[in-house]
Subunit: 205 residues, 2 copies
Amino acid sequence: MRISELSRRSEVPIATIKYYLREGLLAPGRPVTATQAEYGETHLRRLRLVRALIGVRGLSVSETRAVLGAVAEHRAERHQVLGLVMGARPVDEDEEPAPVPAAAEVDALIAELGWEVSEHAPARAALGATLESLRSLGEPVDRESLLRYADLAGRIAAVDLDRIAGTADPLEQAERALVLTVMMEPVLLALRRLAQENESAKRNA
Amino acid sequence: MRISELSRRSEVPIATIKYYLREGLLAPGRPVTATQAEYGETHLRRLRLVRALIGVRGLSVSETRAVLGAVAEHRAERHQVLGLVMGARPVDEDEEPAPVPAAAEVDALIAELGWEVSEHAPARAALGATLESLRSLGEPVDRESLLRYADLAGRIAAVDLDRIAGTADPLEQAERALVLTVMMEPVLLALRRLAQENESAKRNA
DNA sequence: CTTGTTGGGTAGTGGCACTATCTATGTTAG
DNA sequence: CTAACATAGATAGTGCCACTACCCAACAAG
């Protein structure tokens, strides 16, 4: 398939496809002549994935590139791959650890839960920063609520892992993990909104 | 307090505060003279909230304005207030309902759960759109998984409502609901990442 | 041979979130 | 009283980002 067909089938303008090629979000097609390249179904799949990450989930182009790059080298641990979308960079060597706000609170929480989480998981910093921000807004998250949320997060993760389980190929598994983790986020947040409204209606009945 | 103190205490540049004033994210101070205005603690609180919504949660200025505006008129239903951050507009009168992708699936889900959710809740559209997107990526969410997620979302909502419960004043309650719903989202997503890593480690042990 | 498409490159666009500057007006310290 | 400084309000500018438009030489198809 040539670029125009790729454009038609994906509903992405040619100029934008070229932009993604330049940005390294999409592998170049197999060159047939000097002015012709052949694209396959993988390109189409990847293009749709890129569009979903950027358009639906709202990732930036550079975040998307980082995430996809990490998936490509599936030697990266899953938590690291997925951590990238939490706004973290891939273990920048020698660089100040950056003063994570509520790091101690996060460490304590993870210890209390008995969770096995690597020391430099980006989600730790993201969690700490947000807890700190909530505190400064005068709405600190009390320990009990946090534990209840964490317990429920654990159950969600169990469902997530059940869904990923059935895949053998490591690369495919990494891509599935990416889609199921990142793209499920809007789903989970929307479900929470719906549930809140229902719960509110129930209680005020 | 004058604008420079507001700036110092909030760590927001004066130029940015003026910008927020222009954009209607922050109420003007009480004018003392033609070139002087008095700001209070409410302004400081509001300014910090704005910064958190924009900086931590990543809302745009216009989304932030819409959300804060809706909270101000607490006559708006809570689901509507909170729905705004799902990328929806406040019930634009006469306008095509816009073809929601998987509306039928969402309706069926809500019916099956027995949830009481208003017909035009923005989260419905957001959920439908994301489910549709996942399907087009070749990763449809099967009914059983969706039900498991929904059940867990329900329990999260119960914790949320428990936390909001202790407030009497309707305006304050609306603002609390806003903070607790919107600002808790990064917390929940981070907890999920941590839980995923733990769950993954557990299963591969 | 003519008409159209492609790859590749460069430059331009529009939106957004600030940021800098200017002016007329005030305030304050000495 | 005056000189140094701060403020409100307005306007213009900046930097980044995600495209988008255009151009050209090289092909392809009828």
